[in-house]
Amino acid sequence: MEVAVFTLGAVIVLSGGLGVLLARNPVHAALFLVQTLFGVAVLFVLLEATFLAAVQVMVYAGAIVILFLFVIMLLGVDRADDLGIEPIAGQRPMAAVVGVSLAGLLATVLLVAVDGLTGARGGTPLGDAGDNTRRLGEALFTDMVFAVELTAILLTVAVVGAVALARRLSGPMQPLPVVAIAESDDQPTEADDEPAGATGEDS
């Protein structure tokens, strides 16, 4: 039973990965990415990391890929890559070398390891699947509360940075008129886009 689920998840993941790799159209690539993410979520559930599976779907598939799609649509980079030509000489063989070596070396590690995992056991104990969220919450907000606050700062900084990076530099930032959203539908490169996922208000 577990094997079947695993195999299914694996197939979903790998085929999605291949799709990202080979899809000409970036929108297709984004959709294949969603597939991979979903497959990974399935595998998380199999490993009894239920909270993470949920977060994976919500944050990764739900937010991040949507961001990607926003940018693709807004910038018009949806023109298909021509995968037939490769301008940089030797790039494809190098890429092949890197990929094969990585896979090979990692496989070698797995095959050659005799003693199995030699890391320390214990630490924060895993519960069962139902208990997972509570345990994660406890660990995060007691032992790791500083780290969590830091990540909050990180996110804030990222948002501010994105706003600073993506605005147009000519003149001060124009306030978004109330009706501007409806009127600017047909103009994809409006000055006030904020594809960084922040709230609609601007300064």
């Binding site: 940089i88 190098m94 890197v98 070596s101 590690v109 050659v112």
Partner: protein
């Protein structure tokens, strides 16, 4: 008192510093008096040390006074220290004494010159360097002074540097000296390598103890000789001394007669144990070189028309005598002649300066004549100097020259014969100088050859040469007295009269050669020398005063042209020499610089190759990261145990 020896060089140094900064403000004649006063103080300090030393017993007469450590560099430790022993004190006495007199003289001679203060600043600096040379307790300090006097010589020769010929003469002196300095430096390196120290005490004591191999001692001695030849203007490095007459006459008197040029003789005398340790041909070489130079220079002096050039070649000749003495093992005689020569040569130069001053700068003896009427003091003192250098007893020159000739005979009769011939020629050309300058009638108002303006001669007829001021004649008188009495410090009659020899004993480490000849032979040699001198005087009187013998056979053009040596050197340097230098220059530019540039070019090409990895493309960089990660992973896999 010996501890105050540091005052002796320090006073001139202080004088220099004051004059170089405030000299222009002090102005004439204050700067001159300051410099002279400083030298007077230095002389008094030397006198004090001398009296202290003389009061001690013979064994006690060596002291090293160290001021501070100058170079502490591992194995090499050089102090600023002074070796106070009879040799250095003797040198200091006449250096400071004659120096002070010449400073006094210069106050009058340089009157009205724009660079009055500058002159005295340089003179004081020179005195400082010279005193460091003789007082230094190590070869390095002597070298410091050596280089210092060379630099000051350059500064003072080209004192009136706005005239290109003067500047060239200064440069020539400096460059020729430099060749000698190379020899000195090699000797220093060899000394340090052999003895592990540059201190005279260490080196000379070790050498006397016999711990030096003959080959090493020979090398050091020969290299020191090279240095001495450069500084003391022996053949072939004498070329600068006649040209150095372009400087003011006090400079010629001080530097190129009494002090700097004796440095070479001083160095050889100081390092006498090494000469004694070296191979037998080394002293022979010194002696033959000395007597050869003496004779050579004497022939040239016979035909010179510039009064200072005669005296310059005469200096070269007398220095040759000193080298002859050193080579014959007669260090006492060399120092003796150094002292007497300082007195009478300075006297002669200062006297010639007085003549030139009175003749308003004219140095050509053909325009002189009959000056005894106008300059009595100058004439009187000049005559004393003439008699001294001609070797007429009882003037000092006779005693010192005779001592040298006796030791020359002791070494080889041929050396004695050549020395005697030189003495005859010396008497001849000096008498010629006296005759042309002071005797006879004034030729100043005569028509000169090559002069086109017929009226110039009559215009000059009104000119009267004048005697020099008191500041210039007083030193002349003092020097004349010294030229008379200085001989009495080393009278050869008996051991008790050989005062100088006893005094210098601690410095000579028993390397003084003992005479193999008896008293009778010595008297005979002395008599022959006196007769020779009188013959020279007599012939010169016959030629130049009485006019009975023609002068042309004596004034050979080849003598006047200094045997065309200068000309050949110039031709060589301009022709093959220059080609050699340019080839070396090309080698330096192409091979040496080429190697450096080649390395740079190689780096540039390498960088060009490496630049291809920096094409600015993100994907190339990503490939690099990927390959790096693969390599790291492989490395960890292979070295760790799984």
């Amino acid at each position: 008192m010996v501890d105050l020896i540091w005052l002796v060089p320090a006073l001139p140094l202080a004088g220099f510093i004051v004059l170089i900064f405030a000299g222009r403000r002090i102005g004439e004649p204050g700067a001159g008096w300051l410099a002279t006063g400083v030298m007077g103080g230095s002389f008094l300090a030397t006198l004090g040390v001398f009296i202290d030393m003389a009061g001690r017993s013979t064994h006690d007469r060596r002291a090293v006074v160290t001021l501070f450590e100058w170079i502490p560099a591992g194995d090499l430790s050089v102090d600023i220290g002074f070796l106070v022993d009879p040799l250095s004190i003797t040198m200091c006495l006449f250096i400071t004494g004659v120096g002070a007199l010449i400073h006094l003289y210069s106050v009058g001679y340089m009157h009205g010159d724009d660079g009055f203060a500058r002159f005295f600043a340089y003179l004081n600096l020179f005195m400082f360097a010279m005193l460091m040379l003789v007082l230094g307790d190590s070869l390095l300090l002597t070298f410091l002074g050596w280089e210092g006097v060379g630099a000051c010589s350059y500064l003072l020769i080209s004192f009136w540097f706005t005239e290109p010929a003067n500047a060239t003469a200064g440069k020539k002196a400096f460059v020729t000296n430099r060749i000698g300095d190379w020899g000195f430096m090699v000797a220093m390196f060899a000394t340090f390598f052999t003895f592990g120290s540059l201190n005279y005490v260490d080196v000379l004591d070790a050498s006397t103890a016999g711990t030096v191999a003959q080959g090493t001692a020979t090398l050091i001695a020969v290299m020191l000789l090279v240095g001495a030849v450069g500084k003391s203007a022996q053949f072939p490095l004498y070329l600068w001394l006649p040209d150095a007459m372009a400087g003011p006459t006090p400079v010629s008197a001080l530097i190129h007669a009494a002090t700097m040029v004796t440095s070479g003789v001083y160095l050889l005398t100081r390092m006498n144990p090494l000469i004694a340790d070296s191979a037998g041909w080394v002293p022979d070489m010194v002696a033959w070189l000395g007597v050869g130079t003496a004779l050579f220079a004497a022939t040239i002096a016979m035909a010179q028309t510039d009064i200072k050039k005669v005296l310059a070649y005469s200096t070269v000749s007398q220095l040759g005598y000193m080298f002859l003495a050193v080579g014959s093992g007669a260090y006492v005689a060399a120092v003796f002649h150094m002292v007497t020569h300082a007195f009478f040569k300075a006297l002669l130069f200062l006297g010639s300066g007085s003549v030139i001053h009175g003749m308003d700068g004219d140095q050509d003896m053909r325009h002189y004549g009959g000056l005894r009427r106008f300059m009595p003091v100058t004439t009187g003192t000049f005559v004393v100097g003439w008699l001294a250098i001609a070797g007429v007893p009882p003037f000092s020159g006779f005693w010192s020259k005779d001592e040298i000739l006796t030791f020359a005979w002791n070494k080889s009769p041929v050396l004695w014969a050549l020395g005697l011939l030189t003495a005859v020629l010396t008497a001849f050309y000096m008498t010629r100088l006296i005759a042309l300058t002071f005797a006879g009638e004034s030729r100043y108002a005569e028509q000169r050859t090559g002069e086109e303006d017929a009226e110039a001669a009559t215009r000059r007829a009104d000119h009267t040469p004048h005697e020099s001021p008191r500041t210039m004649t007083a030193p002349l008188v003092v020097l004349a007295v010294l030229a008379v009495v200085a001989g009495f410090v080393q009278l050869p009659f008996s051991s008790s009269t050989r005062w100088l020899e006893h005094w210098l004993e601690p410095s000579l480490y028993a390397n003084e050669v003992h005479l193999g000849t008896g008293g009778a032979t010595q008297v005979l040699l002395a008599a022959i020398a006196v007769v020779g001198g009188l013959v020279g005087i007599g012939v010169a009187v016959a030629v130049y005063v009485k006019g009975r013998i023609a002068r042309e056979p004596f004034e050979q053009p080849i003598f006047a042209d200094a045997w065309r040596i200068d000309r050949s050197v110039a031709a060589f340097m301009g022709g093959p020499g220059r080609r050699g230098f340019e080839a070396t220059n090309r080698f330096d530019g192409q091979v040496v610089d080429g190697a450096v540039y080649g390395v740079a070019g190689l780096v540039r090409r390498l960088a060009g190759v490496l630049r291809m990895f920096h094409n600015g493309m993100v994907r190339t960089y990503a490939t690099g990261i990927g390959l790096g990660a693969v390599a790291l992973l492989a490395w960890f896999l292979t070295r760790s145990t799984l």
